[in-house]
């Protein structure tokens, strides 16, 4: 009860501050729309898809997972600013739940990702993408879990390194191979065997496959439960680890 209340308190505060900044809201909406409008038209020929709608079925899930990963991974920067302002220290002297300090923030990130995802899905519907609503909700669940994990990890790392200068290269080095090896932008079906083998070790690759299966209406596919299980386990681990950083971070 106290935990739920604490989480809600932090979530409210963080959301309020986010909405107060019109630049962020604008970027958050504008960026995904650009991807959809400017990048997607290249896809039909590139993917050899029969129709534009078929190309979207492959590209949109990838784009959503991409946003979930990046939306989360770079949240740590805001936390470093808070750390520097003394806001985290001030929170840590109160009896508020340490898990709530993390989760309130991460849930804000999950919700803002969901808003982006809905905008993109609606736009894609205009371009003849068709998804069954149940499948779509499961895909959103997968995205929420990914965002929860990446944002929690980003917060945890931020509390450990405590400086933007260290966080930026670190997150980039993590993000790049993860991105390239997950088949987000182009499916790995064209990849040579060795690349496939490496990608099998990339949890995001499983998440992308699962999300694509859901967009394809293939609910029964093994990839769906595999993707969901892997992301759920990783999200739980990420949250657990990051909450511990909140509990013991020094300065």
């Amino acid at each position: 009860m106290k935990f739920a209340r604490d989480t809600w308190l932090i979530f409210q505060r963080q959301t309020q501050l986010l909405l107060r900044n019109p630049v962020w809201v604008f970027v958050g909406v504008f960026q995904p729309v650009m991807y959809l409008l400017l990048f997607a038209p290249l896809l039909k020929p590139a993917l050899n898809a029969p129709t534009q709608a078929a190309a979207y079925k492959i590209f949109v899930p990838g784009l959503l997972v991409l946003l979930a990963i990046f939306g989360g991974l770079f949240q740590g920067f805001g936390l470093i600013a808070e750390l520097r302002a003394g806001v985290i220290e001030r929170s840590r002297v109160t009896p508020i739940s340490r898990l709530a300090l993390l989760l309130g923030r991460s849930l804000r990130d999950v919700v803002s990702l969901m808003a982006q995802a809905v905008i993109i899905t609606l736009l894609a519907l205009l371009f003849d993408l068709r998804v069954f609503i149940g499948d779509l909700l499961l895909a959103y669940l997968m995205l929420a879990l990914i965002a929860l994990m990446t944002s929690a990890v980003s917060y945890g790392v931020a509390l450990k390194v405590k400086s933007e200068d260290a966080l930026a290269p670190l997150m980039n080095t993590v993000a790049q191979p993860v991105l390239l090896l997950s088949g987000i932008l182009l499916p790995l079906t064209f990849a040579p065997g060795w690349l496939q083998a490496i990608a099998d070790w990339n949890p995001f690759s499983w998440a992308v496959d699962g999300t694509r299966a859901l967009f394809a209406g293939d609910l029964g596919s093994d990839k769906v439960w595999q993707g969901l299980t892997i992301t759920a386990v990783l999200a739980a681990l990420g949250v657990f680890w990051a909450a511990r950083q909140f509990a013991r971070s020094v300065r």
Binding site: L9, R13, R20, A85, G86, R90, V93, T94, P95, R248
Partner: protein, 319 residues
Amino acid sequence: MIETRGLRKSFRSRAGRETKTVDAVRGVNLEVAEGEIFGFLGPNGAGKTTTLRMLATLIEPDGGEATIAGADLRKDPAEVRRRIGYVPQGGSTWDESTAREELVLHARMYGIGKADAQQRASRALDAFQLTEYADRKCKTYSGGQRRRVEIALGIIHEPKIVFLDEPTTGLDPQSRAHMWDEIRRLRRDGMTVFITTHYLDEADALCDRIAIMDNGEVVAEGTPTELKREISGDVVLVGLDLAATPQAAQALDGEPYVNKLETADEGGLRLYVDEGATSIPQVLRRLDQAGLDLRSIELHRPSLDDVFLTKTGRSLRES
């Protein structure tokens, strides 16, 4: 109210390839009584903040124990948090929030209900004369206004003890005087106040009792008067022309109340006496008898800096 025994903390820091260990706090024993303003005086790097952060449950001590407002620091940090307020040295407000938002949020982080939190925020804004700026973003505040918001944050839940880490650093003399009044008001409201400072006059004028800290250790503890009394005697500075100085030295040397006499190179004398107030008339009389004109006479009472000097061999002003 606060009792610590052998509180210790070292930090390991990496400089290049070597790891260095800094013993920031090396065994601090303190006793702070209920309802007093307790001052922690020491130069930069003495370990004041580190001690405070340990007492505020922000970092775990490497060794030692402490009881704070009846709760055990090691066994029950959660209870300690409920009973104390803490205002960090480097600020604690968010640029984009308003003072009122910060106060309400902070009260609610202590589990206080929304309506109550709003009332408390209004009352605190009033008490700290912040109502006028209450709904402006914190980034628009002056240093002094911001510091007042931070102190209001530290006491919004009416703790038994509040820790203020350098509450007046960076304020102009007038704001400092105001801040002293605020701090005295907290004590009047029944709070125990624990402040750190490196201002001698602040420790002297504001604090009921002080501990002088240097290099991770408490080197002296007591009321400012007690500490100064330990350094026995006053100094009388007699201003004289260079030509008159040797004669005056001759006249005053051997007077029973003069413990020690020094001549200054540029003329004038330093007399070490037990009690300045009674010695000065005698000095004046003696010099008059000898027919010597004096330019000035000044009484110098021992300051906390002299206390620090005797205890550590360094002056706090220089470090």
